[in-house]
């Protein structure tokens, strides 16, 4: 399809550890539209990072992609040679990570690290690369850019480092930016600044973004569509409005229920985390991974994996309750938890 920059089809990734095969991503499919922001949400350990690392093919041992296709502009990245992949990383697809403190190399100057993708992917001179790096730092609103290039990462604050990481990712004008929890390690004020920056940059440069987060507030702010992951599988995929107003999966509803709500003049904060713990991915349950924690679970949920139910054109959900044979169709009842 022309409008999709990235299409993931039935991606499965496992870690082959001494204890056995950890199924970190199971049969995940989604696509990212050109110029749009796709959010991936889910509790930690649900397979979001591994999905992203699989797209870049930078999984560390003992992780391996065991199945599926990763179509970037129609070409399967899984079939590319290492050399071809290297030419794509940091150039067509780039990535920023959760912890800006440890994601920069402490013994190299910021300027050195910023120019690296440019020197790797273009035939620019070191001097011009430095000039471009200074522009990039200004783009991510780091003042005094030229001087900052000579600094070391430890002289930057967390927020500034994440800005520098973003600048680094933007160096070669990528078509797709994968941001893996870019704000999780930052304080609240800095978080919203970084999100604002990402959304400004998207507007200015027009690239597509995959934004991984477990913060639904961030999703509401900048995402166009959302993938909800749990226990290494996709539970629900929908446009952002549908996620907030027409969620169909009990897990999505649970997530929505666990965000603090501020209404009108009286601050009414309500926070209800979903009880229970995520499944063991060494031996994932045969049925729906969420079934043991699901308040609406039926017998079939623990026995057979749920099927995809298409709610509308671009809204799908994986839940037995949505099956036509389910008692008192969940959909017809509306959202019992939220309402």
């Amino acid at each position: 399809m022309e409008d999709n920059i990235l299409e993931i089809k039935n991606l499965s990734t496992s870690f082959f550890t001494h204890l056995g095969e950890v199924k970190a991503v199971r049969d995940v499919s989604f696509s990212v539209e050109k110029g749009k922001v796709l959010g991936i949400v889910g509790e930690s350990g649900s397979g979001k990072s591994v999905t992203a690392l699989s797209c870049m093919r930078i999984l560390q041992e003992p992780g391996r992609i065991v199945g599926g296709e990763i179509l970037f502009k129609g070409e399967d990245l899984g079939k590319k040679s290492n050399k071809e992949m290297r030419a794509i990383r940091g150039n067509d697809i780039s990535m920023i990570f959760q912890n800006p403190m440890s994601s920069m190399n402490a013994v190299l100057r910021v300027g050195d690290q910023l120019t690296e993708p440019l020197m790797e992917h273009t035939s620019i001179s070191k001097k011009d690369a430095m000039k471009r790096a200074a522009e990039l730092l200004s783009l991510v609103q780091i003042p005094d850019a030229e001087k900052r290039l000579r600094a070391y990462p430890h002289e930057f604050s967390g927020g500034m480092r994440q800005r520098a990481m973003i600048a680094m990712a933007l160096a070669c004008d990528p078509e797709l930016l994968i941001a893996d929890e870019p704000t999780t390690a930052l304080d609240v004020t800095t978080q919203s600044q970084i999100i604002k920056l990402l959304s400004d940059i998207r507007e200015k440069l027009g690239m597509s973004i995959i934004l991984i987060t477990h913060d639904l507030g961030v999703v509401a702010e900048i995402c166009d569509s959302v993938v909800v992951m749990y226990g290494s599988m996709i539970m629900e995929e929908a446009p952002v409005d549908d996620i907030f107003h027409n969620a169909c999966h009990p897990y999505t509803l649970g997530l929505l229920n666990s965000i603090p709500v501020v209404t009108g003049d009286s601050k009414n904060t309500r926070l209800e985390p979903i009880p229970g713990t995520p499944p063991n991915l060494l031996q994932p349950p045969p049925g729906c991974p969420f079934a043991p924690r699901c308040a609406y679970a039926m017998k079939v949920c623990t026995e057979k994996a749920p099927q995809n139910t298409q709610i509308s054109d671009n809204h799908r959900s994986m839940c037995w309750l949505l099956h036509e044979d389910a008692p008192d169709n969940f959909l017809k009842r509306g959202n019992p938890i939220v309402r």
Partner: protein, 306 residues
């Protein structure tokens, strides 16, 4: 920076002074003296000898006499080698030991570090197993055993290398192998574990995500970080190698510092013990200082002098 260097130099002088003082009094606290063991010497002669070297002065006076010499870099005469000063003893012995040591240091750099890198790159493959196995032997087996085995194989059985003396380059092979076996193994193992640790770091993933090649990631992002813990141990290791090993030097009949030192201790050759101790300590302090300077160059988070 200059202020830091001056501070460090002053601290080194104070440390040296304290080492000299402690060694001096400990040495004198041990019963016996340089001339006590020579039973054939009549008591008058022994007394005369002791007088000549001021050994019958109060210890405190001897101490001040010695220290005033030390300040002028005069380490005094040897009691046992008649007419030889400690300075000339060190001048004679140190270059021999140091030459052996320099080859051993080279062995660390061209064998120890690369072997560690290979082992880390081939983690859990046969190359890694080989390096780990050899390094464990190098660390656990004492140098004199290594020396003996090497001598047996290469000098006695194969007859391709001489068993003693350092007249030709061939003579260096076995003593250097025996002397550096431990250090090379230790550095190889440290390099391996340090690199494996670095491979797990987030910045390595960042480098990979930029599309850099594996060798560039390893050299530019990996090695510089992995070297930091290695440099720390390199200082004392190098100091130890350059100042010689009595065992190796006596097995291979090499006239280095180590031999002088051990003889001096059994003979209570006070000035030689003192001289070599102070020299060794000064050398070690200088090496540690150099290591700290390199450390500061490698790791910008370390601010020297703060």
């Amino acid at each position: 920076m200059l202020k830091y260097i001056i501070q460090r130099l002053l601290a080194m002088i104070v440390t040296l002074f304290m080492i000299a003082t402690i060694t001096f009094f400990l040495m004198h606290a041990v019963p016996g003296g340089p001339f006590a063991s020579e039973q054939k010497v009549p008591p008058e002669v022994q007394k005369a000898l002791e007088d000549k070297y001021h050994l019958n002065d109060p210890v405190i006076k001897q101490y001040f006499d010695y220290m005033s010499g030390l300040i002028r870099f005069d380490l005094g005469p040897s009691f046992k080698f008649k007419g030889v000063t400690v300075n000339s003893l060190i001048q004679r012995g140190f270059p021999v030991s140091a030459k052996l040591g320099i080859f051993s240091v080279l062995a660390i750099l061209v064998l120890g570090i690369p072997l560690g890198v290979i082992a880390a790159l081939k983690h859990n493959k046969w190359q890694d197993t080989c390096v780990r196995f050899t390094a464990t032997i190098g660390i656990t087996v004492p140098s004199f055993v290594i020396a003996t085995v090497l001598l047996y194989i290469f000098a006695l059985k194969l007859r391709i290398l001489p068993s003693f003396g350092i007249e030709t380059w061939k003579g260096y092979v076995l003593p250097v192998a025996a002397l550096s076996g431990y250090s090379v193994s230790f550095v190889a193992r440290l390099t391996r574990s340090s690199l494996l640790e670095v491979f797990r770091q987030d910045y390595m993933r960042t480098a990979r995500a930029k599309g850099l090649g594996e060798s560039k990631i390893l050299i530019k992002h990996g090695l510089k970080n992995a070297l930091i813990p290695i440099v720390t141990v390199l200082g004392p290791l190098i100091a130890g190698l350059l100042t010689g090993s009595f065992v190796i030097e006596s097995i291979f009949a090499i006239p280095g510092m180590g031999g002088y030192f051990v003889n001096a201790i059994s003979n209570r050759d006070y000035t030689v013990i003192m001289g070599i101790t102070v020299f060794y300590a000064a050398f070690l302090l200088i090496m540690i200082f150099i290591v700290d300077l390199i450390y500061g160059l490698l790791d910008p988070r370390i601010k020297l002098g703060k």
